[in-house]
Symmetry: C2
Subunit: 337 residues, 2 copies
């Protein structure tokens, strides 16, 4: 059997409470006794049982993270960074993968994190009801995809500004016929697709370009979806000379579709993405870069702050910088059309 606190106490000849205090660095233990305890604990390979200390102390030292599709670069990277911060602070990370519709429903129906976490980081935007459910947990809440929900600390970017930069870049190159591959705006209650679309429309308007609903196609935030969307755009009577994809993954799908159609990028058509996916450099994709790992790390840090000073820290909102990264997929339209 694994050693318990009493084994250590017995070995050193002190009481369990003293061992508890000593090992947690609490004041009120003489240096001599403390060091003997630390040594004995190491000898016996003792670690406090999380279950027992949680039960007794009322804290789980665990942070829950709910994310859709960890396999996607964006979420995986955020998760990765958050884990580093949390584990360095002695917190465990409990992962809930809420990609499949059904998993998500089950999660909010049963709320398995109840009594299991001290704080929660959501990498997806809860809708009203879900946000309410999470708030009922009574723990600090944060999210990294930028929906300003009450009670949540949010770490995000200015989606509107990013999308504006992307579309303006195309306009400045001389494009007048600009398509958009959008992210599904329905199920995830995400603000990004909405904001990015609005930016697209704003920039077109400000450039005096009439928008054409046929040039807006949904790409579902996936490579496959992007490819389908691009194919659809090419079938439009008067196809676009440039396309703004709301994510790099969709942009890559678009590039694939263009290759299959034997169209050259950027000569025949320009493409700009969003995210600066790790592989975007490889394919030379012009895109809007956002600090992905930093968002995860920062969200985790803010959560830890709230844990340290309960009540003192108000849920805040931090906006991370973005920037246009020029690479090889954008150029002026063929004949200045």
């Amino acid at each position: 059997m694994a050693a318990s606190i009493n084994d250590v106490a017995q070995a050193v000849g002190v009481s369990a409470s003293t061992v508890s205090r000593a090992l947690r660095g609490k004041a009120g233990v003489s240096d001599d006794v403390r060091s003997r305890i630390v040594e004995a604990a190491a000898d016996l390979g003792y670690v406090a049982s999380r279950s027992a200390s949680s039960l007794a102390g009322g804290r789980t030292f665990t942070v829950g993270v709910i994310a859709p599709y960890v396999g996607r670069w964006f979420f995986g990277t955020v998760l990765d960074a958050a884990e580093d911060v949390l584990s360095a602070a002695g917190y465990d990370l409990l992962l809930y993968n809420l990609g499949p519709r059904e998993a998500r429903k089950r999660f909010f129906a049963e709320l398995p994190v109840r009594k299991r976490v001290d704080a929660l980081l959501s990498l997806l935007i809860p809708d009203e009801a879900e946000g309410l459910a999470l708030r009922s947990l009574g723990v600090p809440l944060a999210t990294t995809v930028g929906a300003p929900r009450p009670g949540f600390t949010v770490v995000g970017i200015d989606d509107r500004a990013g999308a504006q930069a992307a579309v303006r870049h195309l306009v400045n190159l001389g494009h007048r016929r600009i398509g958009m591959i959008a992210g599904a705006s329905g199920p995830l209650h995400w603000t990004a697709p909405v904001e990015r679309r609005r930016a697209y429309l704003d920039v077109l308007a400000e450039a005096g370009i009439a928008c054409d609903p046929a040039l807006e196609v949904d790409g579902d935030y996936t490579v496959q979806g992007g490819q389908r969307a691009m194919t659809q755009l090419l079938a439009v009577p008067n196809p676009p000379t440039a396309v703004f994809a709301q994510s790099d993954e969709m942009a890559m799908g678009a590039l694939r579709a263009l290759r299959l159609h034997r169209l050259k990028v950027p000569e025949d058509i320009s493409v700009v993405g969003f995210d600066d996916h790790e592989l975007s450099e490889v394919v030379g994709l012009t895109t809007i870069a956002q600090p992905v790992a930093e968002q995860g790390a920062e969200a985790a840090r803010l959560l830890l702050n709230q844990l340290d000073e309960p009540g003192a820290v108000r849920p805040g909102h931090v906006t991370m910088p973005i920037r246009l990264v020029l690479r090889d997929t954008t150029a002026p339209p063929r004949n200045g059309r």
Copy 2:
């Protein structure tokens, strides 16, 4: 305060043990009482505290997963699939990100999972000492990257066969000068780099091609590393006409390097990768496909089996199928040389 088991018991007018039995689906509770308990629990929003039940029951209902770099597609995808299986079975997933060297050291030094998990899934290969440390936990162990360590259930692929297929493909196309971008074999104690290298050498030998150490370059399993490696290969006096990259990420880096050097793929040089990364199709990369998500799911399932029938199930070894996927990055050498 959140409702406790006694609140439910009191509400229904039964004892706490009956509530416990009823809610966990144990036999020995009348249908009538059970349904009243279920209803009351729902009313009160009661969920059992994990800490308390773990402490009392001796099981944590949690599986630990240790992984390097969750942000990488391969690991993220495995993790994703494993989580689905585990959460469907009522288990939580505790994630430990052991990418940074220092995090890894700390993990094995302190072994924070002690008393915290019922089983452990390792997405990295522990070396001897680490394997021993993990075995000392006394819980079912599994790994998905194929190192046959004693005490571990391993789910993997036949790396040798996969690499052989890749290199043979190049040989069959007529290439005689074949380079390899290898994965770092040092720190991670991975068998994949070793096996894949061996396959490379075997196939060259069987084709009567003398191997040239200058054609073996390390790519560190990253895009950047692959790019550097390719650049290095191009600087060799008599550069290769084809390259086998031990991962798709490195292959993509190689493609980038080739593009920068204005070399055409596959006309000037052929490239074959390994993994079938989600974006390989986008860049048209010829590669060896392996079922990534399935490996995570299967490993999780095997762990659950061992949890269900303690002792009965021996750690096993399952090998998943691989296949060569022909796309656009391989062709015969320019002048049949």
